[in-house]
């Protein structure tokens, strides 16, 4: 009996050793938000785009700083204002073994606008292409109807799948794994909606060997649960560390924090739909004002310089935000070095209000979401306190995102706290979406919930969109940003800093696009 036990124990040890060794190359990662599909063209949603970038690849990738780098395309150039030539990478194989060629690109772009029941399609990215020519299997030429400077940036968001899959597969085929075939460093293994995704290494990857054999992505939406999973060793990395835990984790030797300023700006839109006073803005006695104070640039500037951005960054965000002066942080394309975050100046704000005819201030409701941006509700409350110092009676009303954004778009808020992530990492596109005079058919001001309008700014935006030369375009965008910000077209508050925490022995290279990618996670000795 004893001998049998010993034998069993020996067998266990023998089995256990290689098992532990294999674990070295396995890693679990805790994600904040659920993905909605394995189909790369079903839903244009950040969590999907981030996770699926491990399985599929676009023609052009972004490096951790947001710069465009070759992926399935080795080079690209504009031949003239309307023609782009892309040279494709040779020797790349899909996970099913079939070779990657220009035909796959054509078939993918054809599928993109035609995914049934897509709640947010990728069609916007390929729509500018009016004609595609396959020169040879590794050269492809796109024609656009009008100059489209952001084409490389747009195509960085569209992931390539094999022609055979693109022509037949449904979204359900991707979710079951049957059609989940890309060229990326990891292969699809398992998907349990709202719970986890498992991937295995693609050993023949063109970019070289990856450090992991198996990756388990766990959806841990509850912040406390996500941190607990890291502390207990259940996962080796988490994204979006809650600000309340940053101090604790950064002082613990067993964990390592990584952070990077993101392309998301938190800002305030001021309702300027008409001369009538906007919702939530009245005299201090509750009587309506005679006109819309937000149409006066002096009032907008006063509301901006009355906010102490450094205090918000230090006290509320635990240092994980960068005070903002424009729509993107300094290192991004098209940002103006002349623009600095407004200095905290309550006296100056009072003077400006008096000049504008409000020496005693007015009453204001600050609207904001309470479950969308990092500490959104606390930021709104802090702003209200700053305003009380310049004689404005401010109260705060926050709503869940499901209710808030519909109402914000319908113009039901006067003073609204919002956020914007610039996917192209180029300030021109955020100026165009947030501040251009609204013209939905032309894609101008599609998210201009303030209905701010400034013809001088519109002119710069239109010109920038048609300027192919990068240096020239950057100058125009910088000038446009200066026009907008000197007019306080909106009130930028700060740029969110994205955070990741890893266990001892792991290192993550933080990214500006807030994506969590397996290829940026490395083991360290």
């Amino acid at each position: 009996m004893l001998r049998m036990l010993r034998f069993a124990a020996a067998a266990l040890v023998a089995f256990a050793v290689p098992f532990v060794a294999a674990k070295d190359r396995e890693v679990s990662i805790g994600l904040q938000a659920a993905i909605t599909s394995i189909d790369p063209h079903y839903h244009n949603l950040s969590p999907n785009n981030s996770l699926l970038l491990n399985i599929y690849e676009p023609l052009i990738n972004r490096d951790p700083d947001g710069r465009l780098v070759p992926a399935l395309a080795v080079s690209w150039k504009a031949i003239d204002d309307l023609t782009w030539e892309f040279r494709l990478r040779r020797g790349v194989k899909f996970h099913d073994g079939s070779p990657f060629t220009a035909e796959d690109v054509v078939a993918t772009y054809k599928r993109v606008p035609n995914v049934p029941n897509s709640p947010s399609s990728m069609a916007t990215f390929v729509k500018p292409i009016v004609e595609t020519k396959v020169v040879d299997p590794y050269t492809i030429v796109f024609k656009t109807a009008a100059p489209h400077v952001l084409l490389p940036s747009d195509l960085a968001s569209v992931y390539i799948i094999p022609k055979a899959v693109a022509e037949t597969a449904t979204t359900a085929d991707f979710n079951s794994g049957k059609a989940a075939i890309g060229t990326g460093p990891y292969k699809f293994a398992e998907y349990v909606p709202n719970s986890r995704v498992v991937m295995r290494a693609n050993y023949g990857y063109w970019g070289g060997e990856e450090p992991w054999d198996k990756i388990t992505w766990k959806i841990l939406s509850n912040t406390a649960a996500r941190v607990a999973a890291l502390l207990s060793g259940d996962v080796q990395m988490i994204e979006t560390v809650p600000t309340s835990d940053i101090a604790k984790l950064s002082s613990d030797k067993n964990f390592r924090l990584a952070d990077k300023v993101s392309n998301r700006v938190i800002y305030v839109h001021l309702h300027q739909w008409s001369d009538k006073p906007p919702p939530g803005v009245t005299g201090k006695d509750g009587k309506p004002l005679d006109k819309n104070p937000f149409r006066d640039a002096r009032v907008r500037k006063a509301l901006s310089i009355a906010i102490n951005r450094d205090a918000i960054a230090q006290r509320i965000m635990e240092g994980k935000s960068v005070p903002a002066a424009q729509l993107l942080a300094d290192q991004f394309f098209g940002t103006s070095k002349k623009l600095r975050p407004g200095k905290y100046d309550p006296e100056g704000a009072k003077k400006l209000l008096a000049e504008a005819g409000y020496p005693n201030g007015f009453a204001l409701t600050i609207y904001g979401p309470n479950n969308r941006y990092i500490n959104d509700e606390k930021i709104a409350q802090a702003i209200a306190q700053f305003y009380s110092r310049i004689g404005i009676d401010a109260k705060v009303e926050t709503l869940p995102a499901s209710v808030y954004f519909t109402k914000a778009t319908q113009g039901e808020f006067g003073y609204m706290l919002l956020g914007w992530g610039t996917e192209s990492n180029e300030q021109g596109s955020s100026l165009r979406s947030l501040l251009a005079t609204q013209d939905l058919s032309k894609g101008m001001g599609v998210t201009n919930r303030a209905h701010y309008s400034n013809p001088a700014l519109d002119k710069e935006i239109v010109e920038a969109m048609a300027t192919m030369d990068d240096r020239k375009r950057e100058g125009i965008i910088q000038h446009g940003a200066e026009i907008a910000m000197n007019d306080t077209a909106l009130i930028p508050i700060h740029f969110e800093v994205s955070t990741w925490a890893t266990a001892k022995g792991y290192k993550y290279t933080p990214r500006t696009d807030q994506y969590t990618l397996a290829r940026d996670l490395k083991p360290i000795k």
Binding site: A34, T36, S37, Y42, H43, N44, L45, P116, N117, S118, P119, S120, S121, A123, T124, T171, A172, N175, V192, P193, N194, S195, R196, K218, I219, L220, S221, N222, A224, A225, A228, A229, L231, S232, G233, D234, N371, P400, A401, S402, V403, Y404, F405, T406, K407, T409, W420, E423, S429, S433, L440, S441, G443, V446, T447
Partner: protein, 327 residues
């Protein structure tokens, strides 16, 4: 009996339709799902396309009529977010929630009734007082806090139990269950206990109150006088009599735990329907919200129906024919 069943069925269908209408109207009033689903950088054309793809461009009553027509054919619509049939999404998650609810109920019964008996038989002993003090904690501590403390203790400090998720499952009669595997039990222990805590405290207090009342009754004195062993007096006579209200409460609590285990599910990342419901509400995924509530209301109606029938079998004074008026 047959007439009662038919009438009850008619009422149930009416309740379901009214409920579906109210939820439909509620979600319609809250906001526009497209606003949340569509990428903020999308242009007007893309928004219009998404609105049409989800059928949200049609008038409210037409949307509701389409839903009703589908529902009578057993089709509750497709999730806006996941593009799979809403009922499939729910049925995939339901076994996990049912398992959690059952495990919590079993913990509540197995621990609650004996502890309540002890507290009721020895109300002034240290043990009895200790049990009652514990039950007050169980009542008053918020579930999410207890859940986090459990995780910090058993996962982070001691490293005994996994902090989240559901373990390995095996098929039992075609349903995936996790309580038959060691890994599954390890994952189940903390969330089940967390969910059971309130129920446990409730059962302790009910059992104690019932026991205290019963041991003063004549039939207990008589049984003792007859010379029956204390074990038989308590185990058979007392327990049987105090169980009636306890069973009713267990049944009611089971229903509410299935429907609303949301907090425990999100803290332990338990892949159940509670988490699905909250996510769906946050994203205004109307087909899933409506289908979920329809499933839950159907479960409640079925439980009540069975309870009414059982009552009439147990107590001949309850006649189902007149029951509707007599209640």
């Amino acid at each position: 009996m047959l007439a009662f069943t038919i009438r009850r069925l008619g009422q149930s269908v009416f309740v379901l339709v009214v409920m579906a209408f109210l939820v439909f109207l509620g979600v319609y009033a809250i906001g526009d799902p497209v606003e949340l689903l569509v990428n903020p950088q999308a242009d007007a054309l893309e928004r219009a396309r998404a609105t049409a793809a989800l059928g949200l461009d049609r008038p409210f009553f037409e949307q509701f009529a389409t839903f009703l027509a589908g529902a009578f054919r057993g089709d509750l619509g497709r999730s806006f977010v996941y593009n799979v049939p809403a009922i499939q999404l729910i049925l995939e998650k339901l076994p996990a929630t049912l398992e959690l609810a059952m495990a919590a109920t079993v913990i509540g019964i197995v621990l609650g009734i004996p502890l309540g008996l002890i507290a009721g038989l020895r109300p002034n002993s240290v043990l009895g007082r200790g049990i009652m003090a514990g039950s007050i904690l169980g009542f008053s501590l918020p579930t999410f806090w207890v859940g986090l403390v459990l995780i910090m203790l058993f996962s982070v400090k001691l490293g005994w139990l996994p902090p989240n998720g559901r373990g390995d499952t095996v098929l039992l009669l075609g349903v995936p269950v996790s309580f038959l595997t060691a890994d599954g039990l390890a994952h189940l222990a903390m969330p089940a206990f967390n969910l059971a805590l309130f129920k446990l405290s409730l059962l302790i207090r009910m059992t104690r109150a019932g026991t205290r009342e019963a041991i003063l009754q004549d039939y207990v004195k008589f049984a003792r006088a007859k010379g029956l062993s204390s074990r038989r007096v308590i185990g058979v006579h007392v327990l049987k009599n105090i169980l009636i209200p306890i069973v009713t409460v267990i049944g009611l609590e089971l229903g509410s735990v299935i429907a609303f285990a949301v907090v425990t599910e999100s803290i332990f990342a338990w892949p159940g329907t509670g988490k699905l419901l909250i996510d769906s509400i946050n994203q205004l995924d109307r087909p899933v919200i409506v289908a979920y509530l329809l499933v839950i209301v159907t479960i409640f109606i079925a439980i009540n129906f069975v309870v009414d029938i059982v009552y009439s079998l147990l107590d001949p004074r309850v006649r189902l024919g007149q029951a509707a008026g007599a209640h």
